[in-house]
Symmetry: C3
Subunit: 549 residues, 3 copies
């Protein structure tokens, strides 16, 4: 029986496969129920005739088989994740309901998006990861990195909540050297995340650290009070701003609906090796640091009696992030200077600069990379820091590549996926606590361990200099990653695949000696990939070069 | 009965109160004996009539009451200081004797000064401090910092004596990271104090550290021997001098009466993380480093027989600081270049620069601040160091303020008083040994612990970046503090009270949201203090703005 | 009976003494057998008549006596070295055989050289050292440094073999902070040694460290692949080359007979605090880091099926250093740019610069010093590094001197001898593990411990800033030492003997006060040595200024 093109069927199948691929790629390997669900979806399509239903079910089986091998591999070392409470499964159910209720309607995508958001929220709260390798070693080696033990990946449970009120919170990542000596080199750097509800005010404070802020989402203002001047700037998604140590700042979220979310990289200036906020204003909560002084000193400093002092520093009890009225926010935004756009920031004004309005340094249909480095920006040069933002198209991937000098601290801003990194420092049973020079096969040089983790918003991962790395977006959503590059001066990215693969620069004889196969063969393989930096991801390629998206 | 102005009585009362205030401010709270003494003094004044004596005694009681509250607070956590051996009480007795014996005469002040000096000496030897808070928390909290446990304050017992001869000594402060990880960031810096008797010579030596010297008192010369040249400079109080690592130096105290005292900040250059003097000259004591070489090597190096070598490195047994004759000192001073005065030092000549001849950056009747920073002086810029000297008028105070980037290492040079600092890193039971991110009230942000210590000559304290701090001079003497600011490049001082208080720069709405009281009220309080940086101290204010002094 | 000049006898005696001096200077103090051997050699000379034999034997006894004192000193603390397996003794036997078999012929020296090489090889494999002092303290003190415990000296057993194939190896020195906290300041620096057999190829790899390479011996090429360009340079003895972190390099040894040997100083850039090679090419051995990625990622990255990937990264199994054919080497050398010579390197081209073609900064018949410092070379300035190469004539010595700021990492390249260093940080029973501020005699300042070690090719020793040091070449061979100076910016060498001895710059009165003897006497001794920096060594002087050599 000939198969006639049937557009609704095709559309459904694609959609179905799209979600299924997500399901299978990310969820745990309870294969039977998945397949059953897939087939059920086929049967529930009332527009399908019998033949269409059969084809639908066939596709389900096909895709299921295709994924089986990876599933099996994924399952290894990921016990405990596969249960009925799994956010991914709840998400699928949620999305299924969306489709069943609102198919064909505009709201469907909105509904599904809400499902996905709920899932991500749940996953973050459960703090579960995908540490542990995808695949067993080709040779069947057992050296898989143990789950959750890598010092390179950080999730919700590795953050400490510094501030939490009804209206927002500030979370700070543990010191990079806490779990392992491997990252002692960046222990003076910390990552912090500020979230403030719509229409709120973050009380004035200063920090004993240099800060680089990146606005992940929302619209707000920031005021920076220096000893000699004081400025207020608008903030929007993509803005980068340097906040110098000691500068007293306060912020507003002036949006009526969206949270204001800021990711910060902080560099200690203090001898204490710790990072601390200092609230001068406030009272009991946030406590004002003035309250640490004796009353007689305060009376003298303010030339005021005890009652006045107690009044000034005694009334604030609502915490460091408080609700603000529309009038207050309007007043506070009154003098704000236009949101980021100028480049480089840090010229005359010390205001924010919008990274996403900059021309991408790499761009194709598989992704875009926005970068600002130490040469372009004095403010960052002083900190020996670069900032980049990668938008990886769903189903695509970034890399493999390595940085010559910089250590990347990556913060996942949106989307899901995973990353893989080759690390000679880790090996079975020694993860990150070893003091020696790395794992070593007798007389065989380094062994490279795969470090891999599932990515979702809020995950932080670290890529030390020289380490080859890849990031892959899942099939359902663009993966957006913010990177702070520490030690960025004179850093260079080296491409390990595609048009600019440095392996292509080896002389013919070097290739032959290196790979022990004819140079002709080496070249043939190296020349197959036409793209640069952003490539079609694993699933796209398997479908013969055609992207799902 | 009307009170007629009686000038001698007034004078006596003022004097009496002056010393009493010292007594009560600094001594421990054995109130009854103090009051008794005060009254006794009244009764012993033979020029007083009965009425005057009564008034005198009344004043004693008044003042005593006035001080009681603070006394009670001071007493907490300071057990063991209140005993008959207390230097402060001995000092009072000494001064009383001065007054009784020499009242009205010119020598009286001299006599009292000697008393005070003896007291300071005794206190230093006992190494007792005033660590621990003055006041309980306003809310009656029990979180007072425990005494002597703070890693921010150093006294005599924290110094190690490196060199000690009949003619002088060199003491070096323990590593800042010894007591606590909190100061690991400045562990490459050390403080050392050199004291040499009148008419002495400090033998040539070099150090494996960059040094910045400050002449605390005395008159001398320093010779710096480099490989290619050699210079001698006069030294006087206030001189700052950079001594580069490896430079061989020797010094003379050319004064016939006064000690030469030099405070040094040293920055390791050596991979050893330790600081060490290397004496090339000398013999058995100080040992010459030549003696570590084998005789055959020395014979070859000097092309001389063993007997000559033994003669050269065998005679010196008097230690590193020796008496010198007037002729020798004259000869050694012969080529000395004029004492510091040029600014900036480190221009053509590498000689000393006198900080106290520089125009103060802040000055009013409550104090003066002399500063030299990294922009002004290449020698200091290389070390990322600034130096400042604060002269706080008796009864006055400096601050509150904080530094944006620099960590202050403060050395008390003269006078007594105390400092208070707000520190979010310390909390009850965790002083400085904790590894975590600081004390933290659940979901309430930082808690600021008061760190406080009594100051007297020789005390060293550290103020990390961002930490608000105040220094208060006691009522009887100016408090003089030398500060080395580590990491001084681009450092800014932020004022937390007075005319330039950065809190005044907050917008009205920010003030309201921050303090939870009307902006009008905030402003009213913030505007009460007219001065900048140096303010009337606690006791001055309580007396209605009129200083004791 | 008159002694008539007998040229063959004289020649033999000189030769004999020459080797005997080596024997006695370096070997252990089993004096009797040595003397016996010496006399035996006399008796076995068939050309000698009876008289000549007696004279020969007399000389043996004379020389033996002359050496006795030093022998006794050397013996102390060097138990266990004096046995029949001693490489030195085997070497002598070997050389004796050479002479007996090939006396007078051209090949004799070649033969002896092979003996010596075999000895060095053996010594290195036994990893034996001469740590421990030569001489007891003059005063008979027992404070000799214990053997092998000093953190300043490194031998074969302190290297870790990173790569080892039939064709070569890469060895890396343990972290300097491993044995002692004393060298924590240079723990980011590592020394590595690459050795590759004639006609070999070192596979492409990059490192997470900045590297400075020095070609110790051999002729080869190095290719440096950057993202944007790629260059190949010839390498020869004396070449210095900076290899930036992340640069992919590969090398050839293009000589048909000589090993290529490169000493590297590496400075971590990675946050990991470890040093690691990353092989991109390769397969199973060396493992390619590509193999750490999952197959699906590689398929996507290379846009190639699994079979191709497995082919590319599966064939290389011969390790990181492989044999190359003459044609391959010719092809790889084809585009190589002329070997080092231009100065400074790091100008337009980033190629090597030949240190030994530079004009020596110090030179006399006792040795030559070749230096390149941070001012002369931007590439080194960035790393705050200087490189020097000292060629100390046999029987001569270098120093005593100290560096003001730099810490020297010295690698012995050729020859034998010893060094002595005065260290105030070490004292009996505390070697390098102490946490305190150094050994200290009560009120007597520092005590300087002699740190001493026997030097032979491959030994690495460290001289921290400020530490006086001497290196002495043995009587039979020039001693060649490569030094990397860490923290070299503004470093100055201070001479402690000879014409430029800084002690000569002290004023007369300072000399008198310092040494407690008349200045005239001080001067007399200091002026006896006419040379600068390189001096006749201990034995040369004892022979009345006439060198053995
Ligand atoms: Cu690694
Ligand atoms: Cu603190
Ligand atoms: Cu030492």
């Amino acid at each position: 029986m000939a198969f006639k093109p049937n557009l609704p069927l095709l559309a459904f199948l694609l959609l179905s496969l799209f979600f299924l691929s997500t399901t299978l790629a990310l969820s745990l390997a309870t294969k039977d129920p998945e397949l059953k669900q897939c087939k059920q979806q086929c049967r529930h399509q009332e527009r399908f005739d019998k033949q269409q239903r059969q084809q639908c079910e066939q596709k389900c089986e096909e895709y299921s088989r295709e994924k089986q091998q990876r599933e099996r591999e994924e399952q290894q070392g990921r016990e405990g994740h596969c249960n009925r409470e799994d956010p991914q499964q709840q998400c699928e159910k949620c999305q299924r309901q969306c489709r069943e209720q609102e198919q064909g309607q505009h709201d469907e995508r909105q509904c599904e998006k809400r499902c996905e958001e709920r899932r991500i929220e749940q996953e973050r709260e459960q703090g579960r990861g995908r540490e542990g390798g995808d695949n067993p070693r080709w040779e069947g080696s057992e050296e898989e990195e143990e789950q959750g033990n890598t010092p390179y990946v950080y999730r919700d449970e590795h953050f400490e909540t510094r501030i939490k009120t009804q209206e927002g919170k500030v979370r700070i990542l543990e010191r990079f050297s806490k779990r392992s000596e491997l990252l002692r080199g960046i222990e003076n750097y910390r990552v912090a995340i500020l979230e403030a509800n719509p229409n709120t005010f973050v009380l004035p404070h200063h920090c004993d650290a240099e800060g680089v802020f990146f606005v992940v989402k929302g619209r707000g203002t920031i005021s920076m009070v220096c000893q000699d001047n004081s400025e207020t700037f608008n903030l929007q998604r993509g803005d980068i701003l340097r906040v110098r140590a000691g500068t007293t700042i306060y912020l507003t979220n002036k949006d009526n609906h969206e949270k204001l979310m800021i990711a910060k990289l902080l560099q200690h200036v203090s001898s204490t090796g710790r990072y601390q906020e200092f609230f001068g204003t406030g009272g009991e909560n946030p406590e004002s640091f003035y309250r640490a002084f004796s009353m007689e000193v305060l009376e003298a400093a303010f030339n005021s009696p005890r009652e006045k002092i107690e009044r000034l520093f005694g009334q604030q009890t609502k915490g460091a992030i408080v609700k603000a009225s529309q009038e207050q926010i309007r007043a506070l935004s009154r003098h704000a200077q236009g949101g980021g756009g100028h480049f480089p920031f840090g010229g005359e004004s010390k205001g924010p600069f919008n990274l996403l309005k900059k021309r991408p340094t790499d761009s194709n249909r598989h992704g875009q990379l926005y970068e600002v480095n130490t040469n372009e920006c004095k403010e960052l040069e002083e900190l020996n820091l670069a900032v980049s933002f990668a938008n990886i198209t769903r189903g695509s991937m970034l890399g493999p590549f390595y940085c010559s000098k910089a250590t990347k601290v990556a913060v996942v801003v949106e989307g899901t996926g995973y990353f893989e990194m080759a690390c000679p420092h880790m090996s079975s049973g020694q993860q990150g606590r070893q003091e020696g020079g790395g794992s070593q096969r007798q007389e065989g040089g380094a062994h490279y361990q795969k470090v891999s983790a599932r990515l979702s918003p809020g995950v932080v991962y670290v890529v030390p200099a020289g380490h080859p790395v890849v990031a892959v977006a899942s099939g359902d959503q663009n993966l957006q990653i913010l990177c702070f590059d520490i030690n960025a001066k004179d850093n260079e990215k080296y491409h390990l695949a595609g048009k600019k693969n440095i392996m292509k620069k080896l002389e013919k004889e070097a290739q032959e000696l290196s790979f022990s196969i004819p140079a002709r063969e080496v070249e043939e393989i190296l020349n197959k990939q036409d793209e640069t930096f952003f490539f079609p991801g694993p699933h796209q390629r398997q479908e013969g070069g055609r992207a799902y998206a």
